[in-house]
């Protein structure tokens, strides 16, 4: 059985578009669950989504536990050996309080990739495969989140390109989730049920496309 760690924010956690705190889709509806239903006989799919998680920043309002970098290391150590780590972060870094450009957000993802590569977290002490997933752009209307995400509409549309550059520089896999899903118009930045389903299917294809030699025990 191979194992994949899905490291993300509320859109991996499965936060609903209903705009109720901690309202979460059932496990088989969120995209890691969809992925499990597709590849579950070959893959252990580990869900590691947290609402509000950033790439590398402590959040002075929501708390330092939202920092994706400080939690990544113990998280990976808890789950190793891993065949694949999927990182889908960056949406929360668009919040105006972090004052980051798209390029800087991408550099944050690059820092996470460097952290993973510095740990022998793969099988036989190797480095696991790493897949960077660029989150879909936000909706143009961010409703009551408009001031929190001031300017995010434009910045989020530049993320995929910046992420791809980082993926090339670090030589890791890349997928642009914006090719298959949109943020819901309901709240402007979460995925609805259909989007989780579509993303789960797309990620399953991306995983298979990487190409895995023979089945390991």
């Amino acid at each position: 059985m191979r194992s994949v760690l899905c490291y993300g924010d509320s859109n991996t956690y499965g936060q609903t578009t209903a705009n109720k705190p901690d309202d979460r889709y059932p496990h088989d509806v969120r995209w890691p669950g969809v992925l499990r239903s597709l590849v579950g006989n070959e893959w252990l799919v580990i869900e590691e989504g947290l609402s509000g998680r950033t790439t590398v920043s402590d959040d002075e309002i929501e708390g330092s536990e939202k920092n994706g970098r400080t939690y990544l290391r113990p998280c990976i150590m808890s789950h190793k050996p891993l065949d694949l780590v999927i990182i889908m972060l960056g949406t929360n870094d668009l919040k105006v309080r972090f004052n980051k450009t798209p390029g800087e957000i991408a550099m944050g993802v690059g820092a996470l990739v460097s952290d993973i590569k510095s740990m022998p977290a793969g099988v036989d002490g190797k480095i696991p495969e790493i897949l960077i997933v660029a989150p879909p752009p936000t909706a143009l209307d961010l409703k009551e989140w408009s001031d929190v995400f001031l300017g995010a509409q434009e910045k989020s549309r530049a993320l995929a390109r910046e992420y791809e550059r980082v993926a090339e520089a670090h030589e890791v896999h890349f997928f642009n989730a914006g090719l298959v899903v949109n943020s819901s118009d309901k709240d402007g930045f979460h995925l609805d049920v259909q989007a989780h389903k579509d993303l789960g299917h797309a990620i399953a294809e991306e995983i298979a496309a990487i190409g895995w030699p023979e089945q390991r025990d």
Partner: protein, 355 residues
């Protein structure tokens, strides 16, 4: 750990066109070479064949996809298709022009990225001097280019130019042709990169890239006309240098025979029969003497004649040589030399080896 902004890479919004191709890394060329040899490979197969990591393959395939050099599979959403869809070169990802200077004409051809002929043209040479050759070359290349749309023109990898190895030593105007820098003329006229090579070496290299020799490592390639021009290919490498040129008949006889073939004469024509007999005899001698120091089990024959004549040549030769030697006729047909010229830019710009 690096905190500097990542370096600029090719991105879809800023296509660099063919000019960027020269800067392609060795690994990218390696992957393209594999895709030129095998029709459709999965990322896993590419990794196993090249020894590159899955992540490196992933980065390279994305870069090739962006430049439209590989097809995006059947699907979907602007990226590579399902994993079962193998990756193939996009036939329309690049084009290449070939010009071959013959004693009587300029043979020209455009091929696509997978070696399929797109256009062919033959322009007679009114005289064999530098000025006439120069004018005919530029006229021919202009005529070829006028067949292409603007989009295809932007994808031209370059111009391949081939000259025969031998002109008449006692004619100064022919020697002047060999000495003249047509390469620079064409570069200035077209703005494309120009690659120059001996005609037989170029067509032999075309056989290894797109033709019958695609998956054969050791073989003897022979081009026959008035002479028998062999190239030995060992370990996928073409031995150039001073190769023997074995005379089959004199130029006038060949010209008459070739004219007869061009106007439809088959192997029952006495002149054609005689030429075929002479070719088989010389080839047999060559193969026998070669066998004394190198074991080659494949012979590929190319000649500026229609397929029906090549087929007779192949079957006649099979009767003569030992069963251990496989004889195959080239599929390139009468335009093999222009085709070889057109292959030069593709070989030089996209593959990991140089011809």
């Amino acid at each position: 750990m690096r905190f500097a902004p990542p370096p600029t890479v090719r991105v879809a919004e800023h296509p660099g066109g063919m000019n960027q191709v020269l800067a392609r890394s060795f690994n990218e060329r390696l992957i393209m070479s594999l895709l030129l040899q095998h029709e459709g490979m999965t990322r896993l197969q590419l990794g196993q064949e090249s020894g590159l990591s899955a992540q490196t393959i992933s980065v390279i395939v994305r870069a090739l996809e962006r430049d439209n050099l590989v097809s995006k599979g059947e699907a979907v959403r602007g990226r590579i298709g399902p994993p079962t869809t193998p990756i193939s070169l996009n036939p329309n990802g690049a084009f290449s022009i070939g010009l071959h200077v013959d004693r009587h004409a300029i043979e020209a051809s455009i091929i696509n990225f997978v070696g399929e002929p797109v256009f062919q043209r033959r322009s007679s040479l009114a005289a064999l001097d530098v000025q006439t050759v120069q004018d005919t070359l530029t006229g021919t290349v202009d005529a070829l280019l006028s067949e292409l749309g603007a989009e295809q023109k932007a994808l031209i990898a370059g111009v391949g130019l081939t000259l025969p190895g031998r002109f008449e030593a006692d004619r100064p105007e022919e020697q002047a042709i060999l000495a003249h820098d047509f390469e620079e003329d064409l570069r200035a006229h077209t703005g494309f990169e120009v690659f120059i090579q001996n005609d037989i070496t170029a067509t032999a290299s075309a056989e290894t890239l797109f033709g019958q020799a695609k998956r054969i490592d050791d073989l003897l390639f022979c081009y026959v006309c008035e002479d028998l021009k062999p190239r030995l290919i060992l370990g996928g490498r073409i031995y150039t240098g001073s190769t023997p040129q074995i005379s089959i008949c004199d130029s006038e006889t060949w010209q008459r025979t070739h004219d007869a073939i061009t106007s439809g004469a088959q192997d029952d024509d006495p002149a054609v029969r005689q030429w075929l007999g002479a070719v088989v005899e010389k080839l047999d001698t060559l193969v026998q003497s070669l066998g004394k120091f190198a074991t080659v089990s494949e012979l590929i024959l190319s000649a500026p004649v229609p397929k029906s004549i090549t087929d007779v040549l192949v079957s006649d030769l099979k009767l003569k040589v030992s069963a251990g030697l496989t004889v195959t006729g080239s599929q390139f047909g009468p335009n093999a030399l222009a085709y070889g010229a057109a292959t030069l830019p593709i070989h030089s710009r996209f593959t990991a080896e140089t011809p």
